[in-house]
């Protein structure tokens, strides 16, 4: 039986630490906007992984293949091609965002609150909601389902997006929670965030997948919407502090496939700590159709797949850094 005296003794240091952890927002109370928890993810880090996609990104890369993850708030996708204009969605909509006009559905996105009532009513799967407010505990519960698969393959949790640092507290809670549960953790980031924010989240990641679009200032600004300065600064911080980093470079015809771009990257990496791997991600068209579903325009040539010779050249240039370079379609 415990005496009253022991109960009032000062907490041992480990418990004090736990108490400090608990003083943060708990996993049950930390919410984020999650678009997908994708299991059997085998191209986002080592082993079999579960990738959690967070919504919201400060960049607007022209080729973005996940445009539904750019905005932070939940969105409704609508596919007129499979819509039968039955009107079931119209009656349900509390915001008057959907109307049946002359036998056609008119969807006014600006009024849509992404409540999802129309999605439940639509029997044609013409609608879906991207982004759901979810607690970190809920996400981690699902992530933990696949522990038997992580254990055998060296996999774990990858937090991706969008840009996970756009929901830094949530991303941190996920990575920390996974780390505390003994999982291997990966942060997939474009690096565009305040350095303290990045380092705070990155401390919980065993590996960082770091996107690098290019070195040329005008081009970078034009194709991503932001300057590369902060991105390069953060990358240098991580590499110089010995973080495990895989650099991932999207190769898009005419936008990022200039050999000079890769020469500049190689030169930059010669002045920093070494990344563990460089992955060239060749452009694919899988994202093109999503723009229509979001009522947006795709602004670059549909066929932006880089020439094979360009990829080879880029690989050769980057291999001069002495880092292993892989190419992924």
């Amino acid at each position: 039986m415990r005496s009253l005296a022991t109960a009032v003794e000062p907490l041992p240091t480990t418990l004090a630490h736990d108490a400090a952890v608990q003083s943060r927002v708990s996993e049950q109370e930390q919410f984020g906007i999650v678009s997908d928890v994708q299991r059997w993810s085998i191209h986002d880090g080592p082993g079999i992984r579960t990738t959690v996609f967070l919504k919201g990104c400060p960049l607007r890369c022209l080729w973005c293949h996940n445009p539904e993850l750019q905005r932070m708030s939940p969105e409704t996708t609508y596919d007129p091609a499979v819509c039968s204009a039955c009107g079931a969605c119209v009656d349900e909509c509390p915001s008057d965002a959907t109307r049946l006009v002359n036998g056609r559905i008119v969807f006014r996105r600006r009024l849509c609150q992404a409540c999802g009532l129309c999605v439940d009513m639509c029997l044609n799967d013409a609608r879906s909601i991207v982004g759901k407010r979810t607690s970190a505990a809920q996400v981690l519960d699902e992530v933990m389902r696949d522990v038997p698969f992580y254990e055998r393959s060296g996999g774990g949790l990858t937090v991706s997006g969008g840009e996970p640092l756009a929901q830094a507290d949530f991303a941190e809670t996920l990575l920390r929670g996974a780390r505390q549960r003994g999982l291997h953790t990966v942060l997939d980031t474009c690096g565009y965030a305040g350095t303290p924010v990045l380092t705070r989240v990155a401390q919980w990641a065993d590996l960082i997948l770091y996107d690098l679009k290019g070195m040329m200032p005008e081009v970078h600004k034009r194709v991503t919407g932001v300057s590369q300065r902060l991105i390069l600064h953060n990358l240098r911080q991580l590499l110089d502090h010995g973080a495990q980093v895989w650099i991932r470079i999207p190769v898009v015809r005419d936008l990022t496939d200039d050999p000079e771009n890769f020469t500049a990257i190689a030169r930059f990496l010669a002045t920093t700590g070494r990344p563990h791997r460089i992955e060239l991600l060749t452009y694919h068209e899988h994202g093109v159709s999503k723009y229509g579903l979001l009522g947006r325009q795709y602004s670059i040539a549909a066929d932006s797949v880089p020439a094979g010779s360009k990829i080879k050249q880029a690989k050769a240039i980057l291999e001069q850094t002495g880092v292993a370079v892989s190419v992924t379609a």
Binding site: S41, H43, F149
Partner: protein
Amino acid sequence: MTARTQKLKSIVLNRQPSIEADRAELVTAVYQENEGAPTVLTRARALERVLTRMPLHIQDGELLVGRVSAHPDRVPVYPEYSVRWIADGLGRGLECTEDLDADSLSRLEQALAYWDGKTVWDFGHRFLDSEVSGALEAGAFLHSSGIDGLGRIVPGYDQVVRNGLNHVIREIDARLPRASGQDATMLEASRTAAQAVIAWSRRYAGLARQLATGETDLNRKRELEQIAEICDNVPANGARTFREGLQSVLFMHLAVQIESNGHGIGLGRLDQYLHTLFERDLVTGAIDREQAAELLQCFFIKLAEIPKLRKAGSYRMAREGGISGTMFQNLTIGGVNAAGADASNDLSRLIMEAMGGIRVVQPTISLRYSPATARQTITAAAGLISTGIGMPAWFNDSTSTHMLLEEGVPQIDVWNYSMVGCIYPTMPGQSGHDASPGVFNMAKCLEITLNNGVDPVTGNRVGLATGMANDFKTFDELLDAFHRQMTYLIGLMMRPWPGIVAAYRDLAPLPLLSCLVDDCIERGRDVCADGARYHACRLPATGNANVADSLAAIRKFVFEQRLLTLSQVLEALAHDFVGYDDVEKRLARAPKYGNDDAYVDSIARETATMFCTEVRKYSDPFGGYYIPVLGVANWHWAAGSMTGALPDGRRKGLPLADGGVSAHYGRDHKGPTSLMHSATSLDHYMTGGTLLNVKFDPSVFLEAETSEKAVSLLEGYFALGGHHCQCNVVSTAELKAAQANPQDYRHLIVRVAGYSAHFVQLSKTVQDEIIARTAHSVR
């Protein structure tokens, strides 16, 4: 593949099978001469007659000899089991009779005429009363009631390889003085059978010698002389070389299948019992690794060559399902030794390499996986999977072992188990036949429940009146009605079976096979009469995923959200959803099994447990318990073709969910780890085997890194308690191209269920089902 094996393979692939009269004629004559003699003696004499009189043939280039008929394209007939369908179908639509010559036709007709009313089927059929027949016609369950021999057994070939058949004969002789009556007769019969096999092998030796004399090619002459030497020695005596070992196994394996046409005769742990010979030959330099691979390929071709005449009605869609050329000959590799350490070896890996080189659909290679299995064996297995032929199938040692312990196999023996049929662990040379009453159709059971005992497809009352669908107030009432219906229908299914098993016992004992199964000789009892040390009578079910998906849809939309009424659902089903698009689409949106969704997985677990518990209530004809199985070879098509539209959104006549614990094709969209969680939400330990199909896009196996991840996936499944997994590695685009241009894709092999088959030989329904299975890709 060498020039030799390439040529031998193409002969088998391009043959035009046609039935032959020899076996039927010889067997019939013996029966006529021996009327009144003990059946078991007649059986032994019949086998002896066939083996001493059947025409023999050695194909040019063959290194291993023997076959069940005189020629690769001749299919023998087994009138002891059933004849009416053969007699009726001769030259009139029965497969393999299209080009039958007039002489064979009349000889066959004459032989078959003797058998009407005397076969196993005739005897067993008497036990099918009107209730059983009604349910059978409706497709509530399917069984063959004595159409062909019992199968799914692994004979103890290892004993013959080691000691020779003469040793068995000596054992019989030693046992005989203590025997009397029936036991003595049985032992006499077994000795006759064993001696007949030796005589048969010596005939091959004679033929080889004769061919050698006339052979002008000196290399071939030498090969034929070697064949003669080998056939003089095995299977009479223990094998002295790896090649003799293979020839010994082959002779026994073929002779067992000349005695009876039951399929699913397994080869057991070939990599274990031939390993000593293999290793010794490599060390002494008698053969090198390439020659050993060529011998294995020759062996595989001989197994792929074994034909079987099948009744379309009993094995519905057998032909379309690619089963015509499939004898379910399981060859097991890997696993552990008696000390629990890894047993996989260089021969295990060479077997996989040789199969990767020759790519034939038989034998079915099964890998026993344990955490101790060597990495290089696992890498070799991943390499064979990546060729796309669906082999090896992976089996979890820990789950298999548990199943066998549950079946009564003692701990001390269980390490040596082997796979048989598609997915069953069994004890090689110790377990008896799988006398299975057939396959239970759970989806039809639900259909009958929803219609108050009436089968909506035939309109006949076949089940209990468990209540009108509209009267169910709660989901649990419906589930309870389903349970009662299942109890009743399983009872019907079991009802005739003891009689049918008795027919096998009394009319078709197997004196040769009894030589190869412990403790038949010791007990003086035939393997069909409870002579085997262990029993395993299994009862598989198909359609559990469809039942779970259907019940989940009803629970959600009828009882919870009340968006539909049960009568609306039934009306839509009665019209196969034509004109009821909204109902169909609504039902399709319910949670589906295969996505790690507890809402539906919990129902799947409940219905599967219901089935397993029901089946376990029955004693098998040998005093053991019936073992429920969640996995079927191709019966999900047969059962599906007889089942109407279902509340899970599946249309009438389409195949049910494939495998046994797989999701309904195309409904699993959350990746294979989620599928595997759903699959292991069911209790594999309650069963005697489960079957999971996983289809991968070839991209997964393009790089070593992702290919290793696929292996980790299978290992993770086993850590969760999964029993079996088999993989297709083929792109949807390639399957569609093969469907459109079959002539260009004759080589394409896919995993169907517990076996592989040539894709272009499958019917369109079956091809479509395989195309519709979810292809897991890199993401």
